[in-house]
């Protein structure tokens, strides 16, 4: 749907205002229902038995003793989850991740699950299940996994993207290449060439709410599930397919969500809860512990990246190359390819290329984490660009402005850009007071810019006018970042009613058509577009009802400020019909009034941001304190500026945590050492300064209000901005994320030697 023609002159009534959030009171008072807050009569408690080994053959599982324990109602293993995927290897991978089949592939991989009358019984039952493992050699490091000497995890993986296709199985599942131009010619033109290697460690989304679901399968084959998810329709489709249920008979209701950030776009234990419920013929509640969340859900990739950039003395980047090695955990993925697509996206570079290598390691399946794969590649690229600026003696902002992509630039991953905001965010950064503020002792400043694609996808919205003339809106795309407020704003804007007259809910899977999950920053972008459509469809009906009431042609009725008005000089005596009037009379004019919209929201509009960071480093201990942080990002149109600012701040906060302390620590035994918030250190409030934000609005031509997705881009630049700030504070380039105090102190000491 195109941008409204008159957007330039359009004066919004409620869009862009900071209305009260609809879910706020329930969330701060504890009334809101999250995943574990729904219960059913007679429900059982489920627990999962997980592998302590990173890689082993399951020789035998003996559940006989556990089955005999009083209070145990069902036990399942992979034998209870037959392969119904009909050759769909990707679906079989999902099933195999939910429950190990012939082998366990990572520390924490599920091998069996128990449903019992209470947690104590379930725990006792887990201890009675005997698993006979044959331990295999394992690999957890991405570079090690790609070596020919590495233990091979899957014997059916032959590298894609290499000609001829290898005949020997390996952990190297895919190679891809993006870019254009002639690298050799470009590097030949350069006055300065900088070549560096970087590493980033694995991080978790760190959502506060653990995964939880309540599953209830009836003997007649109908089932219900209440679950914390970013996409209940996708959960329904996948669970139904894996368990052999008809999708229409599995009704899934999404709970409120205590954070997802991509980690709740995949199914993990939900098929197990359904299978247990089916076997026990009782409702089953399955809630993960925090340890399980860390060990067995979907963290991001750890990476290893090489970057080479050539530039002229005037700052023109003549050539750029990157090789990116990421992993998908224990299953094939394309995370490195995603990274490669983002590598040079901020810049207009004549000769650029990125080569991706996706690997498989003995770690949990990698899931999306907010702009997945982009922060790591941004870290490597922006540090190298910072070094180029230093080498040629140019201001790093000026260097980026000189090479920034613009409307009409052919991006490194293929498409030609429409109107974009990278140049504007860089200019805003250059002029921001933060950039000129004096720096305290041992404090450095860094800046970096980042990119994310954004996504649109399928969305359904039903808008209903109630008999009292208020509005209900039902959407199937989960609200993870405030989309209910934005949808209410869109409906209110179109209908000409107050924001408070609209109430939005996320409907269950039996109430609407398929909706994609909330990923790719698509929630507000796609749902608000559908809400605009639905409201406009409802207005058509409202006008028809007014026309019928007045017995005049519908073309002579217009909808203005929440009222139907008759057009034409001869109709001056017809008093406008309000929404309330039409709602009240609906029974006599054709029945309930509604507007529907089912769309694929294409052209989400790419998003760019520039961040500025000040970091103080205690050079005797390596401890970093972020003293000031500014996020500047293009939002297209900020429908609700407070939510947009919240997204900017949240992404920066997560990025700062990733940059400084968050990291999966694996022992040489292949076991995760820090599966708890004590030793997996996300920042607490007192670790962060107030994060300043600046919203730029360069309208997306493919949304009626100009909206772009804003949720993911804010996590892209922080790794780079923080590391460059630390480098400027210490004088030592940091090549390894996170920059934990031991790593910084070691780098400072090494530089002194």
């Amino acid at each position: 749907m195109p941008l409204d023609q008159d957007l330039e002159i359009k004066k919004f009534k409620v869009i862009g205002t900071r209305v009260r959030r609809p879910d706020g009171v329930d969330k701060v008072t504890g009334r809101a229902r999250y995943g574990a807050d729904t219960s059913a009569p007679g429900q059982l408690v489920a627990l999962v038995l997980r592998s302590p080994h990173p890689h082993a053959i399951i020789k035998k599982i003996d559940i006989s003793k556990a089955e005999k324990l009083a209070g145990v109602k069902a036990i399942i293993t992979s034998a209870d989850l037959p392969d119904l995927t009909n050759g769909d290897r990707a679906m079989l991978d999902i099933l195999e991740n939910c429950m190990a089949r012939k082998k366990v592939l990572y520390d924490g991989h599920a091998v069996a699950a128990v449903a019992a009358i209470d947690a104590t019984t379930a725990r006792a039952a887990l201890k009675l299940i005997k698993v006979d493992y044959q331990i295999l050699p394992h690999v957890t490091d991405v570079d090690e996994a790609l070596k020919p000497t590495s233990p091979v995890i899957h014997d059916h993986i032959f590298t894609d993207g290499i000609e001829p296709k290898p005949t020997k199985a390996s952990n190297f599942n895919k190679q891809a290449e993006y870019g254009h131009g002639d690298l050799d010619a470009g590097f030949a033109e350069a006055d300065v060439i900088i070549e560096k290697s970087y590493k980033t460690e694995q991080t978790h989304q760190g959502y506060i709410e653990p995964h939880s679901c309540l599953a209830s399968v009836s003997p007649d084959g109908a089932a219900e599930m209440w679950v914390c998810t970013q996409g209940h329709f996708v959960y329904r489709n996948q669970c139904a397919a894996l368990l052999g249920l008809d999708a229409n008979k599995l009704r899934v209701t999404a709970s409120e969500i205590g954070g997802g950030f991509g980690g709740k776009t995949h199914i993990w234990t939900e098929p197990l809860a359904l299978a247990l419920s089916r076997k026990a013929n009782r409702p089953v509640k399955l809630t993960m512990s925090r340890e399980e969340v860390f060990r067995c859900t979907g963290p991001t990739s750890s990476t290893s990246i090489d970057v080479k950039i050539g530039a002229k003395k005037d700052g023109t980047i003549t050539a750029a190359f990157a090789e990116l090695r990421y992993h998908g955990g224990a299953f094939p993925s394309n995370w490195a390819e995603f990274g490669a697509m983002t590598t040079w996206a901020c810049y207009d570079i004549k000769n650029c290329k990125s080569l991706s290598k996706d690997a498989i390691v003995n770690r949990p399946k990698t899931a999306a984490y907010r702009a997945p794969s982009a922060p790591q590649s941004c870290f490597a690229v922006e540090n190298t660009i910072d070094e180029v600026a230093k080498a040629i003696g140019m201001d790093p902002v000026e260097l980026r402005i000189k090479n920034a992509a613009k409307e009409g630039t052919k991006s490194s991953y293929g498409p030609v850009y429409g109107p974009i905001g990278i140049g504007a965010t860089l200019q805003a950064a250059k002029n921001h007071p933060h950039m000129k503020a004096p720096l305290a002792k041992d404090t450095g400043r860094g800046m970096a810019c980042g990119f994310w694609f954004n996504f649109g996808g399928q969305t359904c919205v039903d808008l209903n006018v109630t008999p009292d003339g208020t509005i209900t809106v039902a959407v199937g795309t989960m609200d993870v970042g405030g989309s209910r407020a934005s949808l209410a704003l869109a409906a209110a804007e179109e209908l000409g009613v107050p924001y408070e007259a609209v109430r939005v809910i996320v409907a269950d899977t039996s109430s609407l058509g398929h909706n994609d999950m909330t990923d790719g920053s698509r929630g507000t972008f796609s749902s608000s577009m559908a809400a605009v459509f639905a409201a406009r469809n409802a207005i058509t009906i409202l006008r028809e009802r007014a026309a019928k009431t007045w017995e005049i042609p519908v073309d002579d009725v217009e909808w203005v400020d929440g009222e139907a008005k008759a057009k034409g000089a001869s109709r001056g005596n017809l008093a406008p019909l309000t929404l309330k009037d039409l709602a009240k009379g609906a029974g006599g004019t054709g029945g309930p009034i509604a507007g529907h919209s089912e769309i694929v929201a294409d052209n989400a509009g790419v998003s760019f941001g520039t961040h500025i960071c000040d970091a103080h480093v205690d050079k005797e201990t390596g401890k970093t304190t972020i003293t000031r942080y500014t996020v500047i990002q293009d939002a297209g149109k900020a429908m609700h500026p407070s939510y947009v600012e919240g997204q900017y701040q949240g992404g920066a906060a997560q990025g700062i945590g990733w940059a400084l302390n968050e990291e999966y620590v694996y022992g040489t035994n292949g076991r995760l050492q820090n599966a708890a918030f004590l030793d997996y250190r996300i920042p607490v409030c007192s670790d962060l300064p107030m994060i300043d934000t600046q919203i730029l609005e360069i309208p997306n031509p493919h949304h009626p209000y100009g909206v772009r997705g804003v949720g993911e881009t804010p996590i892209v630049p922080p790794l780079a901005a923080v590391s460059i700030a630390v480098t400027n504070a210490t004088g030592v380039r940091m090549h390894h994320i996170p920059m934990s105090p031991p790593r910084i102190l070691k780098a400072i000491k090494s530089a002194k030697m």
Partner: protein, 286 residues
């Protein structure tokens, strides 16, 4: 599992002594309940000592302060006279967990849990504190540095419980300090920690010193040689360098998820120097 709430120490001792299964004392519960919830321990008996007479009190006697075993950290922090007398011990209480955790957690529990990284221990060791123990065979006292036997193990015998932590009378012209290193500002656990307690003469020369290091060995270390190195000095640069070097030398740390041997060894010296500077200033030294 049985849950008991005795009203006297004698009763508590008797319950603990008689229990044939796994028995734990519950004070604040900030370690015990977490371990139970995680399935790490499954006690047969939990003896809650919060209702034991006197265990919730901070008393000041002729000998010095006595902190009941069930006194939560916030109660210590809200006792202005105590904070003024022992700012280092108070700093330690103020660093355990977060304010919410401090509302429940006790220094005695922190000590009995016997983590080498326990925040309250180095400060109490530096202060020269002892614990009062009640047991089936009578009462006894033990120096705080002798409570832990190893990681997660303490020297209390079957049926014994700590009833209070007893600090010596605060000496004139003395001051203490506690510093720890954590990557985060709060909700974290010490990677290295140092407690220092100094007494000065009228000229600002250190006459007595105690230095304790946490998280660099299986138990908190009392580093006598480091203390000796600053006694007789006005904490000049050379004394501070000696202190730092001797503290680093005393470390027997491990590489783990929280830090490396190299990092802990280096930072122990840095923190010892900084803590000594604070303690010296608090003692009135210039």
């Amino acid at each position: 599992m049985r849950y008991e709430t005795p009203s006297t120490a004698k009763e508590a001792v008797s319950l603990m002594a008689k229990e044939k299964g796994i028995a734990y004392i519950l004070a604040g519960g900030t370690d015990l309940l977490v371990k139970m919830k995680a399935g790490m321990i499954e006690p047969d008996l939990v003896v809650d000592i919060k209702r034991v007479k006197g265990m919730n009190e901070i008393k000041k006697g002729a000998g010095g302060y006595s902190i009941g075993a069930a006194v939560p950290c916030v109660a210590i922090l809200e006792n202005a006279a105590f904070v003024k007398a022992w700012p280092g011990v108070a700093d330690a209480a103020n660093l355990i967990g977060s304010r919410q955790v401090q509302g429940r957690s006790t220094m005695t529990g922190n000590m009995c849990n016997a983590s080498p990284a326990a925040d309250s221990v180095p400060a109490l060791v530096a202060a020269g504190a002892k614990v009062s123990i009640a047991g089936p065979k009578g009462n006894r006292k033990l120096a705080v540095e002798d409570v832990a036997a190893g990681v997660g193990r303490n020297n209390l015998k079957k049926g014994e419980i700590i009833t209070s932590i007893d600090l010596p009378k605060k000496a004139a012209k003395s001051g203490d300090a506690y510093l720890r290193f954590t990557p985060r500002t709060e909700m974290d656990i010490a990677v290295v920690s140092v407690g220092v307690n100094l007494t000065l003469d009228g000229k600002g020369v250190i006459t007595k010193a105690r230095v304790a290091l946490g998280a660099v060995s299986t138990t908190v270390l009392l580093v006598k040689e480091a203390a000796k190195a600053i006694i007789g000095t006005k904490l000049d640069d050379a004394a501070k360098a000696n202190l730092a070097a001797l503290c680093s030398a005393a470390c027997k740390p491990i590489d783990d998820k929280r830090g490396t041997i190299e990092f802990r060894t280096d930072v122990a010296g840095v923190l010892a120097r900084r803590a000594a500077e604070t303690a010296y200033a608090r003692a009135g030294g210039k």
